[in-house]
Symmetry: C2
Subunit: 165 residues, 2 copies
DNA sequence: ATCAATGCAAATAATTTGCAAAAAG
DNA sequence: CTTTTTGCAAATTATTTGCATTGAT
């Protein structure tokens, strides 16, 4: 059931693989399965660890060589939260325009969508002579709850869950 | 005159240096002068090159050790446009809430501000139980002009120039 | 004087790459 | 069979750090 959530994203990627004439290797299959059955952001190292549970022989190089394929397909997006390594977000297949809000207290990352913001971005871009291709909005904030009560109500929520504006 | 544009930002940083009990070395002075007299985004390596024009003995290590001071002051912001190295934006002193729009054709980066977007972000964040601390909005788009006519009207504009929503 | 800051060079760590062997189509 | 992909290990590259020395206060 959990694994079924992103099935269509996986299928889209399989189509991409086909369209590009790429080969469907055992290693790629493992990686694809993993990537499209999670909603968590992950790093190359995390993906490698997950993959090795299923197939201990999968190499770091293969993971690093598969990530650009995933991003090239547009179904996974590289995220740069000024950390030491890059993170990857598999939720763009389902929510191509989602944004991030990061709790600087509990460090969790939430996703949300806003048509209003999208519309404004389009208007502003147009006025500046651009056609929007993609956008990246990341809000950093603090949880009122935590500041007032010392406990963050978001603490137990599933990361990568999308709320609606 | 160009150097005077950001004088107050420089002064603010000097106050920060003082407040933190940091010492005002010759090398820091050179770096501070440079950073607050440009509106361009720059990398550590670029800053080092500029600094060495004024003082050939300035080391890479000093530049790398000064950058975190600049970002800690809030007057300069680290920018991660999925590139090989980090870039730094000195325009946050004057425009603390500005956003970026990147022309994927001519690769130039423009800055703009939007109170409407800021307001929306505040509302959405509040509804999600957050108080906004900072935000990062980056739009990637293509220049209609370039696509239609083969020439980008933005080509000669000064990068780092802020337009108003 | 005292302690922070510097320059140098070596260390770190994420990511990339060359190459011979394995496997997909 | 042919060509892509893999695993391994070595290379690359931005950034960081240890240490003896210099310099700001």
């Amino acid at each position: 059931m959990l694994a079924a959530v992103n099935t269509s994203a996986k299928d889209k990627f399989l189509q991409f693989v086909d369209r590009q004439g790429l080969r469907l290797t055992r290693q790629r299959m493992v990686i694809i399965d993993l990537v499209f059955s999670t909603r968590e952001h992950f790093s190359a190292e995390q993906l490698l660890a997950w993959a090795r549970v299923r197939d201990a022989s999968i190499s770091r190089a293969t993971v690093y060589r598969t990530l650009p394929l995933l991003t090239a397909s547009g179904l996974v997006r590289e995220m740069d939260f000024g950390q030491d390594c890059k993170y990857y977000d598999p939720n763009y297949a389902e929510h191509p325009h989602h944004n991030h809000i990061i709790c600087k207290d509990c460090q969790k990352i939430f996703e949300f969508e806003s048509d209003k913001i999208n519309r404004l971005e389009g208007e502003i871009s147009q006025r500046m002579g651009f056609v929007v291709d993609s956008h990246r909005l990341e809000i950093t904030g603090s949880c009122e709850e935590l500041r007032r009560m010392g406990i963050c109500k978001n603490k137990d929520e599933h990361p990568g869950q999308s709320r609606r504006d």
